[in-house]
């Protein structure tokens, strides 16, 4: 039950929705699936004067473009992404990432675009009942940060907990964004600002229309893992996603993208580990070194009861398995899987 009255706009197209957002400015919020916005409104974390609902718009089915890329409507429900034959065959990492988000009813409501554009969370922001008689924090316009009291004003260490964003960044996906000036393209990676105060690099009237995942190169391999306590209906302690390609007819890695989500204000790439892997043999030793490098270079924020050192150790162990999976897939065609370090 939302305890205040707000206005409602139901546009008949995304262009109309963008025009509403432009006219209403910061007092309006966009609702696609509503699974992020409405709980936040219920606890008064968000108090938009107007909700612009995309409830009247239905997503186009995912399509394969002439260049082999897969185009997915941003309004595609996560369950539809996870169950789509085309996506399961062409982008299995995204199908897996979509299938581990939240719970079954939420996956049927929430959209892929909304999963990318969700707000960041922290225990204070999202446990309003414990803090309801206390002044607002920086993110809500106040002058205090409860979990990190030494943070200077304007620094919010809330965490972006999307499960699909790391997978899409590893796959080097791009998004089509519509706004007042027509449409523009951006990489999913550049969508995130890295600021907990305003996690997205989107203007007030901009809306993500579609996500395009490029066709994989030859000898491509992927690995994905959401590290979580129960395995259902929860946020990840971290979300690990790896996409790599093996060099032709060898056991070496040509290039790798390692993305860790749910540890910072944005999904982060482990650039040093990526460089370490490029050109190196995909054997147990390299993978152990790369995993240690990932754990060393990331700087996780404690969140949802996970401490900084727990998250770091957890990632060091599990990213090695994810890298092994990706390497096996990339080398798989040769039938020379490295099983040595499986334990």
């Amino acid at each position: 039950m939302i305890l205040y009255e707000f206005d409602y706009e139901r546009p008949a197209s995304l262009e109309q929705a963008s025009a509403h957002l432009r006219r209403l400015g910061d007092s309006a919020r966009l609702a696609a699936g509503g699974t992020d916005l409405f709980p936040a409104m219920r606890v008064a974390n968000e108090r938009p004067a107007t909700v612009v609902s995309l409830g009247a718009l239905s997503p186009a089915p995912p399509t394969r473009q002439p260049d082999g890329a897969i185009r997915i409507d941003a309004l595609a429900r996560l369950a539809a992404v996870a169950n789509s034959e085309l996506i399961r065959e062409a982008v299995p990492m995204l199908a897996l990432a979509a299938s581990v988000v939240a719970s079954c009813p939420i996956r049927h409501m929430a959209t892929l675009g909304g999963n990318l554009c969700q707000d960041t969370r922290c225990l204070q922001l999202n446990q309003k009942h414990d803090y309801q008689f206390k002044p607002d924090c920086y993110k809500r316009g106040g002058a205090v940060c409860y979990p990190f009291p030494n943070n200077p004003p304007g620094t919010c260490w809330s965490v972006h907990l999307s499960d699909t964003a790391p997978a899409l960044i590893a796959l080097d996906a791009r998004v089509e964004i519509i706004g007042g000036a027509g449409s523009r393209w951006a990489s999913v990676e550049s969508l995130f600002s890295g600021s907990g105060m305003k996690p997205l690099r989107l203007a007030g009237d901009e809306i993500v229309r579609a996500i395009v995942v490029p066709a994989p190169a030859a000898r491509f391999g992927w690995g994905f893992r959401k590290s979580a306590r129960r395995g259902g209906l929860e946020y990840g302690a971290s979300v690990m996603s790896v996409a790599l390609t093996a060099a032709e007819a060898t056991q070496t890695c040509r290039s790798a993208r390692i993305v860790i989500g749910a540890i910072r204000e944005r999904p982060v790439r482990a650039l040093q580990a990526e460089q370490m892997l490029a050109g190196a043999a995909l054997d147990a030793e390299t993978i152990a070194q790369a995993a240690a490098a990932v754990a060393k270079e990331i700087s996780p924020l404690p969140h949802h009861g996970f401490t900084r050192s727990y998250i770091r150790d957890d990632i060091r162990v599990k990213i090695a398995r994810v890298l092994r999976e990706a390497a096996d897939r990339a080398l798989g065609a040769d039938g020379q899987k490295g099983e040595a370090d499986r334990g």
């Binding site: 205040y4 509503g34 609902s53 719970s103 049927h108």
Partner: protein, 170 residues
Amino acid sequence: MDNALRIKGTRSQVVEICVNDEWHEVSVRPRHMLVEVLREMIGLTGTKDGCEQGACGACTVLIEGAPALSCMTLAVDCEGKHVRTVEGLAPDGRVSPIQQAFLDQGAVQCGFCTPGMLMSITSLLERNPRPTVPEIKKALDGNLCRCTGYNAIVDAVLQASGQGVEPLMK
């Protein structure tokens, strides 16, 4: 079709929602969630209002056949849509096979989660008539039950889908 709509927060709008194959005209404000309309305006109190933040699944209904959390769905967004609630499983007062399986397996204790469980399972069995145990658990990952420990519920789904689990209670 231009189905754009604008409502002021302090005004009501009459919307038509088809609940269990019966069309209802309800006068709602933008802030009204579907669960409030079902329970307080239409009078179908089978759907439960639990956590209101998507954690418990007690309010699960089927909107156009897909499970949805009615506490996080605006009622105005449901205009012209078909909603099924737990009452729709037993239209003539006779329990459906999945409800009978819940009774047979003792899968109901306090009963607060049961309507949401039944709707999630109904949706699962419509998509997948013979689900495996992992598939059942995946489909029920959004429905919390604090009494039964879930095993009886999984057994009830196996019984209802004819997969070799005999009724525990006859």
